[in-house]
Point group: C2
């Protein structure tokens, strides 16, 4: 009874969870690769995140500024939040957009998805661009202290290039929207 799988798979030999947290869980895993190499590593388990670049008709974008304790500084980011287990990331992006900026979007378009730290975290970040923005209801979580900042897309792109925006999901979304739109970023 051989498996019909096209490519040889790695085998999970052992998985021991040693931490269950509010945002992520952590396990110690032992894996055997098809080559026979055994890996032993700690793994972060996370539902994934949704991030969204809100873009107005004139090309301005909205960023949020908040203190990030792991970075020990305030960071400029696009609105984002954690997925509920099994949640559609586009729905989460829509929710986080309204909660953090007070805007609703007529259109939420997929931009990219990526592994932020595939060496030890299972987290996938799903990135969107939101257009057709209309005022909705601001609704920050109790532990959120967030300021919104509106600026031209070209200025956001400059901040990505010069280190003023240093958060992966925000940089990636702005760079990819720019790459799709070509050298003129006025709209």
């Amino acid at each position: 009874m051989e498996t019909m799988s096209a490519e040889p798979k790695a085998r999970l030999l052992e998985q021991t969870f040693f931490h269950r947290g509010r945002v992520f869980d952590t396990s110690h895993d032992i894996v055997e690769l098809p080559s026979g190499i055994r890996l032993e590593l700690d793994v972060i388990h996370h539902n994934g995140g949704a991030a969204v670049l809100p873009m107005f008709e004139n090309g301005d974008v909205l960023l949020v500024k908040q203190y990030r304790h792991p970075a020990e500084e305030e960071l400029l980011e696009i609105p984002a939040g954690r997925l509920e287990a099994g949640e559609d990331p586009a729905i989460a992006a829509e929710r986080e957009l309204e909660e953090e900026t007070g805007f609703r979007a007529a259109r939420i378009e997929f931009v990219t998805q990526f592994y932020a730290l595939p060496g030890y975290s299972r987290e996938i970040l799903y990135c969107y661009v939101a257009t057709g923005l209309t005022p909705g209801k601001l609704n920050l979580d109790d532990d959120e202290d967030i300021a919104t900042i509106r600026l031209p897309f070209a200025k956001a792109l400059e901040l990505v290039r010069t280190g003023g925006i240093k958060d992966a999901k925000s940089m990636m979304t702005i760079l990819l929207v720019n790459a799709e739109r070509g050298p003129s970023n006025a709209e």
Copy 2:
């Protein structure tokens, strides 16, 4: 004795390490923001990573392909590795380049640095581009099973756009090198 700090700082009220691992440690922290809001969160402590895009004179780049257990699949990435405590990331980039691809570089230029997951990880990724490549000595770690792939920069950029490259540091470096070079990427 008031502090002379220009902006109000967050205060770390409590920090309890509950895990010390080979790659990262994990703590449970309680922080008070200047606004008075208290945050309670788990934090990943990591020395940081260095990543490097090796680029040949004709514009071809080298990528590495390896199985990533957290992603449960093989990923195409630029060469990268973890910093030793206090290590200069450019030195680490040079070392990882030679260990993973067998090439040495005449020039290692800084491209960007970013927080991969600033909501819960302290890890900063430092990204470089390496040019002036000459054969050196391949020296994989015991638990590394890595294939190198040479392809034109334009093809790598296409893979970033279409989901064939889905690792943050690799996407970011390729996108930023592209943004600096402008629409023509032939070299």
